[in-house]
Subunit: 266 residues, 2 copies
Amino acid sequence: MNWQNRRNSKMTPTEFRHTVRDNRFKKTTAGICPGFAQANLIVLPQADAYDFLLLAQRNPKPIPILEVTEIGNRKLQKLGLDTDIATDFPKYRIYKDGQLVDEYLSVADYWRDDLVGFLIGCSFSFEDLLIDAGIEIRHITEDVNVPMFNTNIPLTPAGKFSGNMVVSMRPIKSSQITAAINVTNRVPDVHGAPIQIGDAEEIGILDITKPDFGDAVTIKDDEIPVFWACGVTPQAAVMASKPSFAITHSPGHMLVTDLSNKDLIV
Amino acid sequence: MNWQNRRNSKMTPTEFRHTVRDNRFKKTTAGICPGFAQANLIVLPQADAYDFLLLAQRNPKPIPILEVTEIGNRKLQKLGLDTDIATDFPKYRIYKDGQLVDEYLSVADYWRDDLVGFLIGCSFSFEDLLIDAGIEIRHITEDVNVPMFNTNIPLTPAGKFSGNMVVSMRPIKSSQITAAINVTNRVPDVHGAPIQIGDAEEIGILDITKPDFGDAVTIKDDEIPVFWACGVTPQAAVMASKPSFAITHSPGHMLVTDLSNKDLIV
């Protein structure tokens, strides 16, 4: 499915989640179901849930919480009733003691009664609004995953959790940067306005062609790299803080929700 | 101290907190230290902290969290370094099993190592911005506490906590309602825009002259009652949900922080 097909597909979020649930879609989700919000995932044992919720409260820009599940429950109440968070992301990662174990198409076999799921706002949600504003999203055009980078920006710690912010990068034409800021400023629940514009080195990114997650994309001569806080940040915190067990989505492989992007605008 | 004196006082937030700490100020804090944000308080045992933080996450309009203390610690990191949350509110309430025990000028003698303090945004913070926009704040003019009402609007429950929203009411001239909405819409961390305009009965308020907390104020012929979500909401949830122990501020008796109201504007 190339990006034009993605934009033109008439699949509803529920239909798309069923496709994913049946393992018939295993790719990244940028551009899928335009108009509907996407969500990042981190699942932690109940024992770590308070510290993580507090981390999110103290770092709302990289970790904007859209919904928290009831303990042990894989269903959602707000983002989509026909949703199973253990099967409806195209790809998952499991971490034990901060170490990546493997990637999985479903984590149903690894679910436990003491697990809590945190659904986190995703910048893929605002790409739709940027496209509507006439801004090209390069990784969608090039049909690759968005480039994501570790930074030197420390999170405000909470309990056992600390780490640095992860950012996503999109090359934006100089003439469109104001529009890109204005559009994303209106959606704080999906990371809001950029945290850095044009100076990768200032936030500790030494090689813009080598992302820590996702794929490199072309940056043209009249474009400036623009950095947004990224929902992969919790994974960096997990790796840095080593909880006994964690499930996350695989970067770029999001849940498509029933929430309209328009409902995220404040 | 009448309201003109309050507005004209040059006391800094730190000086004011010291005055409160020494029990030399026992009144409500509307209009105190103009330009600086005020905060509501709820203190709960660690065992109830996750449920309450989740309640706030699910109900950000009545419960916008400004800061959460470390377990057992009475100091703040963000809202004011020279702050002791057990002494710097003019008046406190203690609840046991959901029952009000008494009111106190200090709760230092009741502090425990397992307590967590939640500082919650307060609509007194935006009154300053409303006054700057030429809008009279009646309870400040009349030197009484803001009128607050229980409503029929249910919170989204979280764990053991549930209850209905509490609102504060300010009479606003019809010609100034647009301005009042625009001003408060820009400060979501202190309850943001009104939740109801003009129809008390629709939200379950049967007698506008008999507030459940605070004092009644004059509503003139050309004015409409406007209702904002209120930081007393957690107290209603506490009363409804009966945790073993809770400390709150006494309605209207807030902490004055070092945070500028301007920094709350998004």
